[in-house]
Structures are given as structure tokens and as C-alpha cells.
Amino acid sequence: MQVNEYKPLIVAFCCNWCSYAGADLAGNNRADYPAEVKIIRVPCSCRVNPTFVLKAFQRGADGVIICGCHPGDCHYTSGNYYTRRRMAMLFSMLDYLGIERERTRLEWVSAAEGAKFAATMRDFVQKVAALGENKRLEDLRCKK
């Protein structure tokens, strides 16, 4: 079937202290999740500038997920609270621009939650795959 062959492109931003370690733990536990997910390491989820997300969509990403420490557990005390607010604004704006809510996600994954990381990624990829390609923001000039 056509739908099954389509592989979405997912960019994941993971904070160094919790979620990146959670992703490593998923690896240690050999928890399977789709290879479409490509992780970029950032020191804190609050390092994720909304322009990074926009850039990803412009470059043809089909979904962007940001993972940070659970509220209250931020290595830098309060970074993830800023992320939460910024991303609420950004996702709502993207929704307005026609990037469906399912294509963007903010998730709290701790360093102990390898299974949650893998499950979250499976779920996210599946949801994005169901939506099909992101054609709204993709800059066709970027295509080779």
C-alpha cells in the first residue's frame, strides 16, 4: 500500500540531561522505534529556538518533537517551563499556518524512561505518517 511505504522525516530535539539520556537508555534496552527519528542534542529544551522548528519544516521535515526533563526536574531549574510556554505559542501558530497539531509535540522524558521514549517515538511517527507529507511549509527550492 502507498501509505505504508511513505516514510516521514522526524526531527527530535532532546535535552542533554534527561531526554537524550532517555533515548540512550532506549538503545541500551534495545527498544525498537522507527529509524525516521533523527535526534539533535541540545543542552536544554529551552535551547530550542522556534526558528529551528520552522527551519526543519521548511527543509521538509514531516514532524518535529521536542523532549525535555519533566517539569520541576530541569537541570537548569526552569528551562523546560520556558520551553512549555514558547512551544505552546509556536505550535498554535503553526496550526494556524496549516501544520497540523499532530506534527508537533512536546514531551517530557526522563533519563529513566527509555521505554517511554521509544513508545512516544513510535506513536509520533505513526501519527505523522497518517497525515502524509508536509507540503505546507516545505520550501521547494530546498529540494534537490
Binding site: D32, R47, R59
Partner: protein
């Protein structure tokens, strides 16, 4: 242009099993900047590292990409390798092709494809890497302890014993804090003064410790290793160096009706006073609000009787500026005000007292010389009711009480009840409790002794109201286990008031840029793993300023804080994390957005001169990041509206390049 070497690790079959490493190395060979690409079985092994060193030399590499396990595993290893090869260690990037690729994917084609993309992203990032050098800052080998209670004293003694200079700043005329006011201490019942006062003397006599009593911190500047603190030494109108503490002035002072705060206003002191016999420093202090001489120039008796000539009515507040490497906060606690709890009649009857007042009433040095007498008429009370959780665990009445459990009340109430029954077996003692919480060494045994050996009557329930009727206090409470309402005509009621952080803590936290929770307790850097450090580097927490604590816990935390301070002060230089924020002052418009979001107070503003194209000079306000304070979260980079702020090691263009490489 960078000259990048790519090193793909097999990790035995860990990576090579699901990733075709040769294909990855080949694919990355044609990436921009890559001049050398190879694979090896174990990159982290000695021969693997030698291979990298050789390649750096042979191919004049300026950047290295290692496709291997997680950077959390071996980033440090490969940075050292790069250093050894003469390269800046921050020119190394790791592509995580094990934990986040080969281990989670089963198909070799898919795994190889993903590994190539991850490698490409790393190459794209290294292309934009710049050599970074961690900043170094010197350490002032002196510590400041704010608060001279048992927490502050213990911390200071431990730091001083390790050979470092320590200053204690105490706002009261004497050190000793709350513990000096206590009678006996649970669960061993040794007298507080007997174990505290020797420590106070030790602190006073220690050659490495200076005590600034009757002083407050008025401003704090600088950062870890290099704090500059201004201390306000309040005028005590007595020359500390000359006063011998003989007390002649106190005996002769005609102002006799000043409420004695040390005894919580239950008796009076003079206008010139020494808080208690074992005060440290043992010097007199004149209360400017009570002294006639200071108020209207009439009296001067103390100056006449002082043979040492220590009285100085013209003394002024003095400001002392000192440099410190570390600051320990030990500001302690206070019982909350009970003014808003009308139901307990605390303000209507002298015989409704707080537990701290009860401590003074039973203390041999207290207003009654240790005899348990009613404050109203001095009679011996026959029925005493203790009420626990007054203002604690009060989630709906934040304007009155506190949401948290004050932790120490169960134990001191058991202590009070037990000691009362021990000294006066004829008294009936009731304790109204909601839960009795006694986690701690020998704590529950202690409480059980109060019940079983001393016959204290514990009633499960609360007190609804207390009404003074004649000489008695009618206490109406519920007895939940027997499902009935009980009325006790008590002679004395003791309220276990909740405790709260000292009022001076909040302004201090602002000066230190140390964070606090909603209850004004200082927050720790990590609730489990870094419990005595504040998130602000160089600021440490000791005692009840961090949360309710009993004495054993306070002392152990105080020593823990001291250990952390010693660890810091024993370094000659602090090596920072080079991945910190920095501001492009040409782009910065001085809006303060970054300053507001920085959790560490690492950003300050300065006026800087800029030479304009027309040769004029303009002064603009620009942000400046202190690299010693910045922890590198990058929050400011996103808050910056002009894009002036960037994070070294994770620069905007580096992350953008990674996004590009992944989405290619």
C-alpha cells in the same frame, strides 16, 4: 575551511552488526570539509585513539567526527585524544550511531542510512565548530556564613578546621540562634545550652573564624569564587573590643520595661542588654528604640558605670566590604504568627502559648527559672493541652498557615509532654494530634515512652476552639477514635505553631540570585543528589533555610555544606564550562529579555562606547555574560529578540546546520 576526519567505530558487532560501517565511512568521505574517513573495530581503544592522533598529524585535521556510541559515554575520551594530538578538544563531535541507531534498528539497510545521516549532521556541525577554551577564575579562600545558629556555627567550624578563613554574619547581638532558646533536645534530652554553648565558644575562639554579630549582609556582587559582600555592622553603641561583658551597665540601666525578645516577651530586659549569660560575643548592646539617652539625650547612666569606657553613644553603622569564594546561607526559621488563628485565643489569653514560649518557661534560665508557671497568674497548671499542627498542613489557608508539615512539632510536643509529666506527675497532659510523625533514629521509641511510661494522653483529633472562661481555658476538640467531642477545662494550652523561613531570607535570596520555592525556602540544586547546594554556583545551604529540620539533620546538613565549601575553596582556580552564552554587542539592543530568563543571574548590563561610522562615539547599554556564572542552558539565546545572544558549542548556525543535514 575545516579539514575534517571521520572515524567510524564498529564497536565489535554492536554497531557493525546493523550498520555497514564501511559504507558509512565511504558516504561521509564526500561530505564538505571531510578530508579523511576510516573505520575501526574499537575507536575508544588505545590503538583506535592512536589512529585518530596519526590521522590528525598526517592529514592536518582541524576537526574530528567520531561515529560511535553516545557522547555521554566517550565524548570526554575523544576530546582528550584530540587534545593529545594538539587539537582543541571542542573540535570533536560524536555521531551517536550505537544507542540511537544500531541498537534500536534491526535492518542493516535502514541502520546504515540513518548512521550516514547522523554522521552528516555531525560533520555539518563540526564545520562550524570553533576552538573553545574554558575560562579560569581565581578562588578567594575565604567563606561567608550568613546566620549564626547551630547550622551556621557548625558549617563555620568545619570550614575553619579545614584551614580556611570563615566569617559569620549574625543579625542578632549574639550567635546561637533558636537552639540557644531551647531547654532540652529530643530524643536524648540533653540540655541545649550544654551542647550548644561550647560550640559557640569554639567558634569565637577559633583563629580562622570572625564573628560579625548584630550585622547584616547589605549587598552581594560577583560570582562563585569571587563574591564581594558588603556587611552592615549595626551600631550597638558599645565598643565591642573594650566591653568586658561585666553587666554593670545592665544592672544600673533605668529602662526596665523593655520586652525581652530572647524570652519571647514573657519578661523584661533593660535598654542596654546582653541577651543571655552565655552570649557570644559577650558584650552589651543598647536598644536604640528604648534607650533614653539615644532618644532624647537624657540619662547616660551606663556610660558612667562602665569602668572600661566602652559605651559610645555616637557610634554609627559601619559597612565592611570583604571578598569571599563561597557563601553559605544558614538563615534558619521562625514560628509563624498566630494572630489570624482566632479559634485558639492566642491573642486573648496569656495562658495560650506557643511551643517556643513553653521552651523558655521550662528553661532554667527562662523567665520563671524553669518552674512551669502560668504566664497569667504564676500558678502551677494542673491540666495542660498541647495542640499539634497549628498552621501546618494548612492547604486552604495560605494567608494564615503553611501547606507543608513542619516536621519537628510531633517530636518536641512529645518532649514537652514527657518532661511535664516527669517534673510534675500531678499534671494531666493531653495532646491533640492528627498524625504523629516520628521518622528518625530513636524517635518513635521516644514518642511511645511519652505515652506508655509517662501517661501522656494522646487524642486523635483537632481542637476546634479555645474559650477563656474565668481562670480556665475551655478547649473543645474532637476525639475521632471514640467518635465524640471532648471539652477540657485546661490551665495552659501550648500550640505547636508551624515554622517558616526567617523573614530576612527572601531579600537575601534576591541579593544572591539564589532561587526559592513558594514558601520562601531556598531550593537546592538537585533535591536528591545536590541537597546542600543552591542552583547558583558558590552558594550553599545549611539548616532550616532549605526546609524544616531538627537539630541532628541541621548539623549533618551543615557539615555537608562545609564539605562542599572546602571542596570549592581548596581549588586554586575554577575551570569553567566553555559552552556558555555570549552576546554580540553590536547586535544587542539592551532590552533585558535575556537577563529576565537567566536562572543564574549570569547576565548583566554595561554601558559601552561604540565608534560610529561618522567617527562619533555613542554609548549603548549591552548585555554581558559572566562565563563563570553561566551554566550554558541557552534559554537566553531564544529569548533574545535581536539574535545577539548565542551559545558556544551549540550555536544557532550549528544546530541549523544539523537540521539541514538531517532534512537533506
Amino acid at each position: 575551511m575545516q579539514r575534517i576526519g571521520v572515524f567510524v567505530c564498529w564497536c565489535g558487532s554492536n554497531i557493525a552488526g546493523t550498520v555497514d560501517v564501511k559504507q558509512v565511512a565511504k558516504a561521509l568521505e564526500s561530505e564538505p570539509g571531510v578530508v579523511f574517513s576510516t573505520d575501526y573495530q574499537y575507536m575508544c581503544s588505545k590503538s583506535g585513539q592512536d589512529m585518530i592522533k596519526d590521522a590528525v598529524r598526517d592529514h592536518r585535521l582541524t576537526g574530528i567526527v567520531v561515529c560511535s556510541c553516545s557522547p555521554r559515554m566517550h565524548e570526554a575520551t575523544f576530546r582528550k585524544t584530540a587534545s593529545a594530538a594538539g587539537l582543541n578538544p571542542y573540535m570533536v563531535e560524536i555521531a551517536n550511531v550505537r544507542e540511537q541507531c544500531s541498537w534500536v534498528h534491526k535492518d542493516i539497510i535502514i541502520g546504515t542510512q540513518k548512521a550516514i545521516i547522523l554522521g552528516r549532521a555531525a560533520v555539518a556541525k563540526v564545520n562550524l565548530n570553533a576552538p573553545l577554551t574554558p575560562g579560569e577564575s581565581p578562588v578567594t579562600k575565604r567563606a561567608l556564613v550568613i546566620g549564626g545558629g547551630i547550622a551556621g556555627i557548625q558549617t563555620a567550624l568545619d570550614i575553619a578546621d579545614a584551614g580556611f578563613e570563615v566569617d559569620i554574619v549574625e543579625k542578632k547581638p549574639t550567635i546561637g540562634g533558636k537552639m540557644a532558646q531551647l531547654d532540652k533536645t529530643f530524643p536524648t534530652l540533653d540540655c541545649a545550652a550544654c551542647i550548644l554553648t561550647p560550640k559557640m565558644v569554639d567558634a569565637a575562639q577559633h583563629e580562622k573564624i570572625r564573628i560579625f554579630s548584630y550585622s547584616e549582609v547589605s549587598s552581594v556582587g560577583g560570582f562563585v569564587g569571587n563574591f564581594t559582600v558588603s556587611i552592615r555592622k549595626k551600631a550597638r553603641y558599645v565598643n565591642e573590643d573594650i566591653c568586658t561583658g561585666c553587666g554593670a551597665c545592665v544592672d544600673k540601666c533605668p529602662m526596665k520595661k523593655v520586652p525581652n525578645e530572647f524570652n519571647l516577651g514573657m519578661d523584661n530586659r533593660r535598654a542596654i542588654y546582653i541577651p543571655f549569660a552565655q552570649a557570644v560575643p559577650k558584650v552589651a548592646t543598647i536598644d536604640p528604640n528604648a534607650c533614653n539617652m539615644l532618644k532624647n539625650g537624657k540619662c547616660g547612666v551606663c556610660a558612667k558605670v562602665c569602668t572600661a569606657g566602652a559605651i559610645d553613644y555616637t557610634q554609627k553603622d559601619e559597612y565592611i566590604e570583604e571578598k569571599y569564594g563561597a557563601i553559605v546561607v544558614a538563615t534558619g526559621f521562625d514560628p509563624i504568627s498566630l494572630d489570624k488563628f482566632d479559634e485558639y485565643a492566642y491573642n486573648n489569653s496569656k495562658d495560650v502559648i506557643t511551643s517556643l514560649e513553653f521552651e523558655r518557661l521550662t528553661n532554667a534560665a527562662g523567665p520563671t527559672q524553669g518552674k512551669l508557671l502560668r504566664p497569667s497568674d504564676g500558678k502551677h497548671p494542673e491540666k495542660i493541652v498541647f495542640v499539634q499542627c497549628v498552621g501546618s498542613r494548612c492547604s486552604s489557608c495560605s494567608e494564615k498557615g503553611k501547606e507543608y508539615c513542619s516536621k519537628i512539632c510531633c517530636m518536641y510536643t512529645a518532649k514537652h509532654a514527657m518532661l511535664t509529666r516527669d517534673k510534675y506527675p500531678d499534671t494531666e497532659v493531653y495532646v491533640f494530634y492528627i498524625d504523629v510523625r516520628t521518622p528518625g533514629k530513636s524517635f518513635d521509641e521516644f514518642y511511645r515512652r511519652a505515652v506508655e511510661d509517662y501517661g501522656v494522653k494522646y487524642i486523635k483529633g483537632s481542637v476546634g476552639k479555645i474559650v477563656p472562661e474565668g481562670e480556665k481555658l475551655v478547649v473543645q476538640g474532637s476525639d475521632l477514635l471514640n467518635n465524640r467531642q471532648v471539652v477540657i477545662d485546661a490551665d495552659l494550652v501550648v500550640l505547636a505553631a508551624a515554622i517558616e523561613p526567617d523573614k530576612s531570607a527572601r531579600p537575601l535570596a534576591t541579593m544572591l540570585t539564589a532561587s526559592m520555592d513558594t514558601n520562601d525556602f531556598f531550593t537546592e540544586a538537585h533535591p536528591k543528589l545536590r541537597p546542600v547546594e543552591s542552583p547558583t554556583a558558590g552558594v550553599f545551604l545549611s539548616g532550616a533555610c532549605q526546609g524544616p529540620k531538627d537539630i541532628p539533620e541541621t548539623v549533618s546538613q551543615a557539615s555537608a555544606a562545609a564539605a562542599k565549601v572546602i571542596g570549592l575553596l581548596s581549588k586554586d582556580k575554577l575551570v569553567g564550562n566553555p559552552c556558555v552564552a555570549s552576546s554580540d554587542e553590536l547586535m544587542c539592543n539592551g532590552c533585558s529579555s535575556c537577563e529576565r530568563v537567566c536562572p543564574y543571574g549570569a547576565i548583566t548590563y554595561e554601558d559601552k562606547e561604540f565608534r560610529m561610522p561618522d567617527r562619533t562615539v555613542r554609548v549603548r547599554r549591552v548585555a554581558k555574560v559572566n562565563p563563570a556564572v553561566c551554566q550554558g542552558c541557552g534559554c537566553c539565546t531564544v529569548a533574545c529578540p535581536s539574535g545577539a545572544m548565542d551559545l558556544r558549542g551549540f550555536k544557532n548556525d550549528q544546530i541549523m546546520a544539523e537540521v539541514d543535514a538531517i532534512c537533506k
